[in-house]
Symmetry: C2
Subunit: 252 residues, 2 copies
């Protein structure tokens, strides 16, 4: 079988964050599959076919990609950010595992990209400079009990926390519940950053404390970062920097 499947990430929005590897593979593809607004960012060449879809049908998109690759097409599946972090790579492997055995012979590769938390961290300073955890709030099937267990664990371990997909139409209260839970476990003055659409023309940053953090500030384009007990603020004439030192307890 001559087809292949490449699972790619376009980064968080700034085209200068797309790796040269990803750009080269996109040019070789016969078919490009992804959430329609991501495909709109690309300049496809004549003859390439774009298969845009809604954001809620990841598994259908993954099946279509595998079926086309099995039929001999050169297929690129694109996500925003890194395809391996809350994105299409896991959906493709779910579809592969559940699909016909013949699909397991498909030439598949995943290629890394810049994820939203990295862009947000860069703009803020270095909040991910020490141990951290990463949680998505968008999993509609994830029971609140497991989320609660994970938030408790993040607080018990005094990790920095990056929250993906903090707001969704299906579960609008999750971030509000998460802040409420963390307020019972972490200091009121813990820094909280709302990083919205970083790398796009309308990017914005808002930094506050856990005590003051308002879940209504987040939408689906927002990454929320919550500090550890070590995360610090340096005021500068131009604003300031949020960072977590490399060594635990060094600031005390």
């Amino acid at each position: 079988m001559s087809g292949w499947l490449r699972i790619l990430g376009l980064g968080p929005g700034n085209p200068a964050w797309i790796t040269p590897e990803t750009t080269a593979l996109l040019a070789e593809a016969t078919d490009v599959i992804g959430y329609a607004p991501y495909l709109a960012r690309l300049r496809l060449r004549l003859g390439q076919i774009a298969h845009g879809s809604d954001n809620r049908v990841e598994i259908d998109r993954a099946r279509l990609a595998l079926a086309m690759a099995a039929a001999g097409q050169r297929v690129a599946v694109v996500s925003g950010g890194d395809p391996g972090i809350f994105a299409m790579a896991a959906a493709v492997f779910e579809a592969l595992e559940a699909g016909p055995l013949a699909w397991r012979a498909i030439d598949i590769a995943v290629h890394p990209g810049v994820s939203a938390m990295q862009a947000a961290a860069a703009r803020l300073g270095a909040p991910l400079g020490h141990d951290f955890c990463v949680i998505s709030l968008s999993d509609n099937l994830k029971p609140w009990t497991i989320l609660e267990k994970r938030l408790d664990a993040v607080a018990a371990g005094d990790f920095v926390l990056a929250l993906y997909n903090p707001a969704s139409k299906a579960r609008p209260d999750r971030l509000h519940q998460a802040f409420a839970r963390l307020r019972t476990l972490k200091a009121r003055e813990t820094p909280v950053a709302f990083a919205r659409a970083i790398g796009r023309a309308d990017e914005s940053l808002f930094i506050t404390t856990l005590a003051e953090a308002d879940a209504a500030r987040a939408d689906m384009a927002t990454l929320v970062l919550i500090g550890s007990s070590e995360t610090r603020w340096i005021a500068t004439p131009g604003g300031g920097w949020l960072y977590t030192p490399r060594t635990y307890g060094a600031g005390r």
Copy 2:
């Protein structure tokens, strides 16, 4: 002051993973500062000055970078991977906070890159497809008690875990201790992957179980990934894929 400081990451080794933004900023710098083997990867142009150093003097390197930028140079500080994840960005902000107030007026920016866990995850499949934590074992000042607390939290939250810097001359037993601790908390058959030098010519992958994982297999170029209870293996004719489904409990 006309100087500036750009904090950049070269990715985990494959030059095709360096973002175009980082390549452009490197070309504009008058001075490039970093751990000598990272600088050796770059083709500097005539007139650019490379300031190579040992890996253990990050804070000296950060101070030098700030002093040169304050003196009007255009300075690029380079790390492997992403500069914000266990790399130079935090060191620069530590030096900035402790340094002369005049340094706070320096034009500083951090730029994201691909980190080692993302390259490792891509080669393996999609192990970071759901909630995960990231811990560095290299912090010589981090007491074992905090590390133990964090490993316990990772297990209690049933997170996937990425371990950076699993082996060091200063603390050779840390990974051994970490595996021993996790064996008391997680299932014996939990997948463990050793991803070494991914993106370089000598890259290698080794996948085993927590019961069988041997800390001696890791060196400073290795990223260790430990699954959650959800992380699964799909066997294929070419080997297989390790992935964590997007929804918690979906595989049961």
